[in-house]
Symmetry: C2
Subunit: 233 residues, 2 copies
DNA sequence: CGTTTCATTGAAGACGGTCAAGGTCCGTGG
DNA sequence: CCACGGACCTTGACCGTCTTCAATGAAACG
């Protein structure tokens, strides 16, 4: 019996392209790995030696300048694929933001397996095309939106992303108007291309305007969804 | 005889994955199309009805906000693939910057063809992964670099990109230190997330510092490559 | 040769960054 | 149970960079 039988993302990750026998073969070259918050799986500039499926948790993809400026270039959730197949080096670091569970493959093993399973490659292709679309949309935000618009956009995206997970864990923490942020203010800043202070100020302003509420540091309640959308632009 | 026999990018576009017979079949569903500067092939938000290979020319991919702010999210060159296969809508407009020649396919036709030719999908996948890497690297520039760094980085990238085309057209216009920009100042601004004025000022400053020369509006000579790299960060 | 488009330059101001101080939360150990 | 320390967050004052607004200048085109 393979780990895959009990895998939470068996039917939503790229593995969904494979039948029982193929899954068995893929399982043979992969292994589970747990990451603690802050722990990195790969570093920017590394040789690309491994790729993985995210099973549980949230991870960030980051790149930075020599003098220490950092930018989060992507955030990945369960069922997402991470790492750089078919290429020599990794262009960004991958670091866990929460405790995370990933299904790791040696890059060479995975490349070989993928070459023999076009359906898997197809899933990976559509996933990559979607990721590229999302990344390009984010470029508009980074370069052209104001701090206020950035924060509003971010909160709306979080509400949408985290609402999906609300049903799975029936703790009712996350819903369309109320959720717990998986990020620190610093990380939100890194995502939006802002400083921690600016993020804080904008959040406070939105609260003062009665558009959101901030019961605790990590919790957000959206009081006026329409207004938030109007601000997001 | 198909158009492909004389195609300039036959061996560098994704078509390189196909043998003579397969190329013939692909040729049957594609057609050539010429675009004039400023002419668009697809518009942001459109149904994704066509995809294409770029044969000749340079095109921009853009997205914008309702109130008219625009961001160039990608620039494509000969042999690049454009459009959104396997998806309903297009997330960005595609517009020719120079006179351009593209090889257009109906999206549904292409999707069907690709599904039957894994080698083609593989090429498309590696190309898309590379594009994603480049796009993410650009995010760092957009959000964290200063205007001076942005312009320096841009000029270096242009020098590199355009040097490749120098040999093909033996007009000697483009080399490692001298080239003709395919963009207006406004377009450079849209690429870097700056205003036209800031781009102009930074270019002038680099010229005053003796790092570059600007014989005409569109021409650039790099006088001190090392200094430019130091500034780019 | 005039008109349009594109580029440069200057002055003023806004937005967000930087620096600094204080506050809140939370775990650990006295 | 409270005190302490550290990480995280908020708030304020100031300042620099880039944008905005405006005018002028240079090419390109009919």
């Amino acid at each position: 019996m393979s780990y895959c039988d009990t895998c939470l993302v068996r039917n939503s990750a790229i593995c969904a392209a494979l039948d029982a026998k193929e899954i068995e073969a893929l399982n043979a070259i992969g292994r589970r790995r747990q990451l603690e918050p802050g722990e990195s799986l790969v570093w920017e500039g590394d040789q690309s030696v491994l790729v993985a499926n995210v099973i549980e948790g949230i991870l960030k993809l980051t790149t930075g300048t020599e003098d220490g400026r950092e930018q989060i270039v992507g955030v990945v959730y369960p069922a997402d694929f991470i790492g750089r197949p078919f290429g020599a080096t990794t262009s960004h670091s991958i670091t866990a933001l929460t405790t995370a569970n990933v299904c790791v493959f040696g890059r060479a093993d995975f490349d070989r397996f993928a070459a023999e399973h076009p359906a898997l490659e197809h899933k990976l292709l559509t996933r990559t095309l979607g990721e590229l679309d999302r990344t390009r949309k984010w470029m508009l935000l980074l370069s052209r939106k104001t701090a206020e618009e950035k924060v509003a956009t971010f909160l709306l995206e979080m509400a949408e992303r985290l609402a999906d997970t609300a049903c799975e864990h029936s703790d009712r923490k996350n819903s369309a108007e109320h959720f717990e942020l998986p990020f620190t203010r610093q990380q939100i800043g890194d995502i939006l291309g802002l400083t921690i202070e600016t993020v804080s100020r904008q959040m406070t302003q939105l609260r003062r305007d009665g558009i959101i509420d901030l019961p605790t540091r990590r919790e957000v309640t959206i009081r006026d969804h329409g207004a938030l959308e109007a601000i997001a632009g």
